[in-house]
């Protein structure tokens, strides 16, 4: 008889990612019932349903060049401070660290609103798009894992509302490596963003490199982290500009992928106006 050696040892060597309730400064979690949305193309949505993993994009791959940067005031304070120790080169070291962090921190974005947003449809959904309706409570619960005793490698996922500040005059918490990823410039205020942020650990890169079985999927663009779909998704809204066939196709494909715990609904924006 062959001895089947189970994999748990190796599995536990690769890290797990889980929602962490003790928030970092800067991360303010809105009320649990707050409604959040994620707008995406059908292809992206089906990939979520198929893989049962939520994709976190490396900050360096996001469109905003200011991801991971610090405001002018904070920078000035740090420069003055490090000038006292000219032999240490501290400010350069810290800057390099922050630049490196742009690749190390991965972000999953949501839009906070009680209603569907036409701007979000146009920007992220398109005519052949869908929007997932969820809530803060659903998101945090869907990302929470029951950690085993031997899961000694695990990493926190922080969830919070993005703070919009003026990078020319405003301050933010110094010395917190996560802070640069929960603050954005005022010009993004309309996005009313809620983010889940997690570090892509060195051990995750190592696990991928050594081909240990892992629960997540790691690549140049980011990391896909296991998520409980039925908890996460309250409803799937279909683009208001979609033609009739598209709604049918969304229903059909969701069914083909064996997901039935959330209804596919028409966008509320297509209701007939009363004159």
């Amino acid at each position: 008889m062959t001895n089947v050696v189970a994999a748990p040892y190796y599995v536990s060597m690769s890290p797990k990612y889980t929602y962490w309730a003790n928030n970092h400064s800067g991360f303010v979690l809105p009320a649990a019932t707050t409604i959040i949305w994620r707008y995406m193309t059908l292809a992206r949505f089906l990939e979520l349903v198929r893989s049962r993993r939520l994709f976190f994009c490396r900050a360096s791959k996001l469109e905003d060049r200011f991801e991971g940067s610090i405001p002018r005031v904070v920078n000035a304070t740090l420069e003055t401070w490090s000038a006292q120790y000219p032999f240490m080169d501290a400010s350069d070291q810290m800057r390099n660290e922050r630049i490196k962090n742009r690749d190390m921190f991965a972000i999953n974005c949501w839009h906070v609103s009680d209603y569907e947003s036409l701007a979000m449809w146009n920007q992220y959904g398109g005519t052949e798009g869908v929007a997932i309706r969820s809530s803060v409570e659903r998101l945090t619960r869907a990302l929470t894992r029951r950690l085993q005793r031997d899961d000694h490698l695990w990493h926190e996922i922080y969830v919070g509302r993005v703070n919009y500040i003026d990078y020319a005059v405003d301050e933010f918490p110094r010395g917190d490596p996560l802070a640069p990823f929960i603050y954005k410039r005022k010009c993004y205020e309309h996005e009313k963003e809620l983010r889940a942020v997690t570090p892509i650990s060195h051990s995750a890169e190592l696990a991928k490199f050594s081909r240990w079985p892992t629960e997540f999927e790691l690549n140049d663009i980011g990391i896909a982290i296991p998520v409980e779909l039925s908890t996460l998704i309250e409803a799937i809204h279909v683009s208001p500009t979609a033609q009739g066939w598209f709604e049918g196709l969304v229903k059909e494909s969701v069914e083909r992928f064996g997901f039935d715990s959330a209804p596919v609904v028409k966008s509320s924006l297509v209701e007939e106006p009363n004159y």
């Binding site: 059908l42 292809a43 598209f246 992928f257």
Partner: protein, 268 residues
């Protein structure tokens, strides 16, 4: 209660004068989004879009010299009232003429991916003229060019300020486009959505086709039609996976998906 006779749509093998069919082995492509591909696979219907819904306002238009010729011929014979009725008729035709467009080329085209905004999440169906004609429903009667006939031919690119064509041929404006569209090297399957089809759809009679304000979806033998499915070489890895997975979930062979030749690694 009125009985609606359900019309039929089928490929007409008798060549219509307006259409020039390229050789059967000519390779043709259709560039589209994943939802549109899945809809084709799931419904097993090929969508023909009404000409009025195309971006090109010249769909269904006659060239300037043709119009001048028409005017000189008609003004001597018919009243202005009748003439404007004819013009209105030609314009109305735009919303009954339904078209399925294909790109004729032996090779995949980088321009087509870019043009239709499909560089990130795009797929292309590879087929041939022969496959397309075989995939469409077969015409039941021989030698009859009647309503419901689907004609196939290549588009002629002409100069609309100087060209002239027979104005009495109602299909001609739909197989001609301006020179600026030459890069599309288009092949078209064209059919007229007839009144009976619209009535059948409106009265809830089950038909083998589906008529909407956008066009008509006509049953097609998907397996005969599709020689291969290509994914944009510029698409990310996850997109390749989800295309294969969804094709499989919809009951088709994921090996239909071929690696794009454009995705090969360059040698320096």
């Amino acid at each position: 209660m009125s009985v609606v006779e359900v019309p039929k749509y089928a490929y007409c093998p008798e060549q219509h004068r307006a259409f020039r069919l390229p050789p059967g082995k000519t390779t043709i492509w259709r560039y589209l989004t994943l939802p549109k591909l899945l809809d084709l696979l799931d419904s097993r219907k090929l969508f023909f879009c009404r000409a009025s819904k195309f971006d090109d306002p010249f769909e269904g238009a006659v060239p300037k010299r043709t119009e001048e010729y028409l005017r000189s011929w008609e003004s001597a014979r018919v009243s202005e009232e009748v003439r404007s009725k004819h013009r209105a008729e030609r314009k109305r035709m735009r919303s009954s003429m339904a078209i399925s467009s294909w790109h004729m080329s032996e090779h995949e085209s980088a321009a087509m991916w870019n043009l239709y905004g499909l560089t990130h999440e795009g797929v292309a169906i590879k087929s041939t003229v022969d496959r397309l004609t075989r995939a469409l429903p077969e015409w039941p009667k021989k030698g009859w060019q009647g309503p419901g006939a689907i004609y196939i031919g290549k588009v002629d690119y002409i100069d609309y300020s100087t060209a002239i064509f027979d104005p009495s041929q109602s299909y001609l404006p739909y197989v001609h486009k301006r020179e600026s569209f030459k890069h599309e090297s288009e092949l078209r399957a064209v059919t007229l959505i007839n009144k009976a089809a619209g009535e059948a759809a409106a009265s809830g009679v089950t038909t083998e086709f589906a008529v909407t304000e956008w066009g008509i979806a006509i049953p097609v033998d998907v397996c005969a039609l599709i020689e291969g499915i290509y994914i944009a070489a510029t698409a990310p890895g996850w997109f390749d996976r989800i295309v294969r997975a969804s094709i499989e979930r919809f009951g088709f062979d994921p090996n239909l998906v071929r690696k794009s030749a454009m995705a090969e690694d360059p040698i320096y």
